[in-house]
Symmetry: C2
Subunit: 409 residues, 2 copies
């Protein structure tokens, strides 16, 4: 039984979070420096961007988290600290040190994350000057969570977080998470930062496995614009304070824990897709009847990533031909003449394509269905296999162009 | 010596072209049915979309051109005749028949091309009714060429054509071409139609080879929105009327001919990129110093296809970090710390990134350079190899979203 609770990353026992404005962002109105901290050393697992160009924060976190242990993470927005050479590496290491000094801990026990503009030197002296007030901002409640979340947001328009509670061996166990990401989001991750906390006791290996499974079925099924960032990172920290019997094998407790983590990640992934830069709609693309889940995912992602499909969804135009077209260049073997397509939303469902050809439908009804703020393109390959998958994206709008035509200034 | 001449596909001897309005497009203002014809049977070579969902016109042309012989092509705009089932196949065959009947030729000697909306039945009776006036519209001059070109245009805003003359063994030989394409253009082709005529005498095999080489270095290096259409086709027809000694081996004549064909295709490819849907700028991305030409092309295409780069170019924003980011997810092995980037145009050149890190530059000068209507992103991998490549794309604008948010209606 998964129960939704409040408090985000501060919902699990022993985690505190805080966020302040330290002057990385030009204006003083938004926070830009965050800290999540557990007094008790955590077991940690992380995933990083697949981009060959990796931000300094990624390189330092990879080293610091290599042993799967950490006390927390220091993160900033407003500057990606990417393409910044050896100075950038030193700055990222310094961020870990500033955080560690506040608690007399080892710098190696802190992860570092950054998001913002690429190629601009980090104003590290501002972070140094703010380290003490950052530590003072830590709170183990929703307010601390909210401040930290605000401090990692860039073009995000909404706060994206969640927390839930499960029972393991009769003990309540909590998982909390915050996520940042609006553009550059694509299958295989993008400037997406996701920090997950849990008071579960779990081995490093199984925490890692649960994270990879959850990410594969959530964040890696989101597409906004096809770009993959230099700074992506997902971190999960488990401090064991729930007192459950530590999960050391793939037993029932592991399954409950892994399922809950996946549930939370899917929830945040959908929030992220809906908050894609300039997006007005959450687009779900579902594929059924593919040869296997991988084929279903590849087909669904091709449709969700198509600029032409995304523009049609923005315009509430039932242009199903573009759906078939995008499936056609996905590189997957399927029979175009066995494809059914329908459009769905809270306003109803309408079949627009049967057996790969036009199925008569009311344009008026289709318009109504596609005008909702959450719409689904439902694709059925008519029984050629059991593979199914859902992926999430958004529409492509004037505002996407506006936001990204003038991002730096 | 390549000499530019006028007349487009009618410049080579023995080719005539025409175009009329037959009622596929709703309004009577634009032509929608084209014919290119050579009385003398041509040697033909063609390339087709790689999309798994292929329009009926593609399937029929593949059959009709299998032996590498044709008299011409009948083409329409306003309806893609894709996802139209067996009725669509019959309609595409009928189009070839209508054209053939006018000259008492075999239907199998006509290629068929369509472009427009997917999934709508072709109003074949209108084409049948118009076949005679289509044949009557044929003219062996620039006017015939222009009428045919207009009849295959959809969201194109400019006519894209060219012709040139070379000498083979002292005989003047001409090559003419027209191209249609504005959206859905991507490496590996998209609703791009390109018809090339030549009066050269050349074997089927070498015509095919010359076409594939030319396309690989021209149309396949263009990216507008990453979508690949169901209807792409390039056709080249050679009727031998120039009287040159037929090209049967890769001799000097072949090299001159192949180079001229590539020259013409590159010219049209750049025109196509510049006329991308909603585009305000031609974007050239050049890569030097890659391990080989293939790596250079992959890196350049990743940059030219990035929505974030394209938005920055639209906004004349010197956001070079996005260039490195797009290179980083191209899947190519390179050292980010050896990358130099500069922006170029008629207004000058400015270095913005040296050795993978920021190089101080004047934002004002950069803005001026990027505000020109033809801009280049020049990338140098600093001597790691000799591989170089140029690809062409365009910016991503409000108008792209507008055009594609409301295409059908």
């Amino acid at each position: 039984m998964i129960k939704e609770i409040s408090g985000g990353v501060c919902a699990p026992q022993g985690f505190r979070a805080g966020g302040i404005w330290c002057g990385i962002k030009a204006s003083g109105t938004k926070r830009d420096l965050a800290l999540i901290y557990s007094e008790k050393l955590c077991t940690a697992a992380a995933m990083y961007t697949s981009n060959r160009v990796k931000a300094a924060s990624i390189l330092v976190s990879q080293i610091n988290l290599a042993k799967g242990r950490c006390h927390g993470i220091i993160a900033n927005s407003g500057n990606a600290n990417a393409c910044t050479g050896s100075a950038g590496l030193n700055h990222a290491k310094a961020m870990a040190s500033f955080a560690a000094e506040q608690f007399a801990m080892q710098p190696e026990h802190f992860a570092v994350a950054s998001t913002g503009v690429i190629g601009v030197p980090m104003p590290i002296e501002r972070i140094e000057a703010a380290a003490e007030s950052l530590a003072n901002s830590l709170r183990g409640d929703a307010a601390g969570h909210d401040a930290a979340l605000e401090a990692i947001m860039t073009t995000d328009t909404r706060k994206k977080d969640g927390a839930l509670e499960i029972e393991l061996g009769g003990k309540p166990v909590r998982i909390g998470a915050m996520v940042k990401g609006a553009g550059m989001i694509h299958p295989s991750m993008a400037t997406m930062l996701c920090f997950v906390t849990t008071d579960a006791a779990v081995s490093k290996e199984l925490l890692d496995k649960a994270l990879r499974n959850a990410a594969a079925r959530s964040f890696n099924r989101v597409s906004v614009d096809g770009d993959t960032s230099t700074n992506d990172m997902i971190l999960v920290m488990a401090n064991g304070q729930a007192g459950n019997q530590s999960i050391e094998s793939e037993n029932d407790d592991y399954k409950i824990f892994a399922e809950a983590l996946e549930h939370l990640c899917i929830k945040l992934a959908k929030m992220m897709a809906k908050d894609g830069e300039g997006a007005t709609k959450l687009l779900t693309v579902s594929v059924k009847g593919a040869a296997d889940e991988t084929d279903a995912e590849t087909l669904a992602k091709s449709v969700a990533s198509s600029s032409l499909v995304k523009c049609a969804i923005f315009g509430a135009d039932a242009n199903w031909g573009r759906v078939l077209c995008a499936m056609g260049y996905a590189g997957i073997d399927f029979d175009p003449e066995s494809v059914d397509v329908s459009f769905k939303s809270n306003a109803g469902e309408i079949s627009v394509c049967k057996a790969g050809a036009s199925h008569p439908f009311s344009e008026e009804d289709a318009k109504k269905i596609l005008s909702e703020d959450e719409v689904e393109i439902s694709i059925n390959l008519a029984g050629k296999g059991q593979g199914s998958c859902e992926v999430w994206g958004c529409d492509l709008t004037y505002d996407y162009v506006k936001i990204n035509g003038d991002y730096r200034s």
